[in-house]
């Protein structure tokens, strides 16, 4: 393998991981931007997306059915959560909402263990994306290229929605100043519900997309939560651009760190997070100017 080929491969690895982190963190950060609490159960919803996806694929024999239906299923769970817990605690403040979602981690974890067992489950990538493709002079797994493309598409669609549509304007107004937005006649409650559901669906999407690479395990929700939190804090809580930048930084730091300095890779993200929190606690690209 040429030296250039090596770095192209590592670059693609980093990009692929960044896109997965982006899919996860975007939901988390937008929910924070509007509702002002961190949904700690986000990782658990990612896990549910993977497990539900595995079951749908097994029942229908089609990866694409899982790809479409698993996010919807997770969204439905999110909707139920919103009405039973999140909305009820609006007045009680963000810390109570954080605690409730912390409790949900344990509930979902054991629910998955009861429903699917303790043994990790695999999910096959769709036939058309199995094997490797030739790109930039290297062979790279086609499914990973699909993840990169999906991340870019989701990124583009969200940018357009946020910047060019009426609903996007409402969300931006809500992030900027919730009371002002309400005074201007925006139905803030419905907006919150919508954003929460979309955020959950994106977590479910990330889960079903990640399953063919990482397989579905009961520990996946807790182990992905920390990197996701790091991404949104580094980027700036509530900020879409921040999630993009944060995901790229964490993805590249972990991947290239693993390639060059494996012993250091595990602690590098924590050092970075600590440094950002000390020097620039609002994040690199804050949600509010």
């Amino acid at each position: 393998m040429t030296d250039a080929g090596f770095w192209i491969l590592q670059f693609l690895n980093a990009l692929q991981y960044s896109m997965l982190l982006f899919l996860l963190s975007i939901g988390l950060t937008v929910i924070f931007g509007l509702l002002h609490f961190i949904n700690l159960a986000h990782g658990a919803l990612y896990m549910l997306g993977a497990y539900v996806g595995v079951s749908i694929a097994a029942a229908t024999g089609s990866y694409w059915a899982a790809f479409l239906l698993a996010p919807l299923a997770v969204m439905a769970i999110g909707a139920v959560l919103y009405f039973t817990l999140i909305d009820r605690l609006r007045q009680a403040g963000p810390m109570n909402q954080v605690l409730v979602t912390f409790g949900l981690i344990f509930v979902f974890l054991d629910a998955v263990r009861i429903g699917w067992g303790d043994i990790a489950l695999g999910l096959d990538a769709p036939k058309m994306f199995q094997g490797a493709s030739h790109i930039f002079g290297v062979d790279y797994p086609t499914y990973r290229l699909f993840i990169i493309a999906l991340g870019l598409v989701v990124m583009g669609v969200l940018m357009v929605i946020l910047n060019r549509t009426q609903i996007g304007a409402m969300i931006r107004a809500g992030v900027e100043n919730e009371h002002m937005a309400a005074a201007m006649g925006i139905n803030v409650g419905r907006l919150f519900f919508l954003v929460f559901c979309v955020g959950c669906a994106l977590a479910g999407l990330a889960g079903v997309v990640a399953a063919p690479v990482f397989s579905a395990t009961t520990g996946m929700g807790i182990s992905i939560l920390i990197p996701t939190l790091i991404v949104v804090v580094i980027g700036g809580l509530g900020s879409l651009q921040g999630a993009v930048v944060g995901a790229l930084i964490v993805g590249f730091l972990e991947t290239l760190g693993a390639a060059v300095l494996p012993g250091f890779a595990a602690i590098s993200v924590y050092l970075l997070l600590a440094a950002i929190l000390v020097l620039r606690p609002q994040g690199l690209i804050p949600a509010r100017g």
Partner: protein, 385 residues
Amino acid sequence: MKKYISGLAVAAALTTISTAALAETTVGLLLPKSGVFAALGNEIDDGFVFALEEAGRADDIKIVREDTEVKPPVGLAKARKLVLQDEVDVIVGVVSSGVLGAMRDFIHEAEVPLIVSNAGNDAATGAACSPYITRVSFSNGQVNRPMGQWMHDQGIQKVYTLASDYAAGHQMIDNFTAAFTEAGGEIIGSEYTPFGQTKDFGPYLTNARAANPDAIFVFYAGGEAISFVKQYGSFGMAADVPLFGSGFLTSPLYVAAEGDAAVGVKTSLHYVPTLDTPENNAFVAAFKERFGRTPSEYAVQGYDSARVLLGALDSGATDRKSIAAALPKVSYTGPRGPLEIDPATNNVVQNIYIYETVKDGDALTQKVVGVVEGVRDAPNGCALQ
């Protein structure tokens, strides 16, 4: 006539009482029932219970179950509870080497026999061995050393190694490395990946491939094994860099989830369910009948833990001391083949099988491609004899 019948009934009742009194053996089954190794704990539990049922002894032996949660301090606390409160005659189980390390001194000082049914830490039957610790599962060295010579015999000269960055990972790789270099091979690169964190092996696989080895040798288990094999497959490396490893990598427990990526992977292990011996065929058939699935190496470890214990009891052992003394004397031919306990270390002596995962119709199965018979660990500082 009536008298005769009632006499029989009394006699029968008396027999029942006397056998119950004879079989007063209490076993503390100490396994992870939550946490990352819960699946292994359940396999071992099933295997253990299955052996008791098969021998018709399920009612004679009282089992007290405790969950280690895969946390060493919890495991130690539960071991103390089993010994001091439940007053068990013998403890069976322990999946993680960390838990075993935490319990070791307590077990040794309390003089309670422990039958280790998974944890492979070499020291447990090496420098830190004890007459009270008998291992019927495997040691990390035992599983990996034979692979060094065997791979070199296949004409492999340069190997790159990868493993999870925790104690067992280092031990597995160290043992393989020692054997492979002794055989004349060369390790041209080695990396340890952060344990239990993000499971993207892409960067490591890319590094391994860039080193241009003849083969890679890895140790991964559980969820990490599935991710690793699938990612190895997706990078299309099988053609130029074949994958070898510790047999846990393609355990029957996980191989279905790994799918086609596992085909062609060659690994070494102390048990393979497709082993074609009368003992194993009978075992696999009966286990499938009872649980509806193929037994894994973990189930066999639980099964043999019970058989070794029953062997000791049948030889007349009744209390902690006599059970501990009788355990190393048990030997028989079971599902894994000939099995005996080495009195020098109290570690099991057994065959190591090198198997290739192959396709059989739609399902994946194991084809044994090499056998190293009667693998025995060196005492490594153990002074039982």
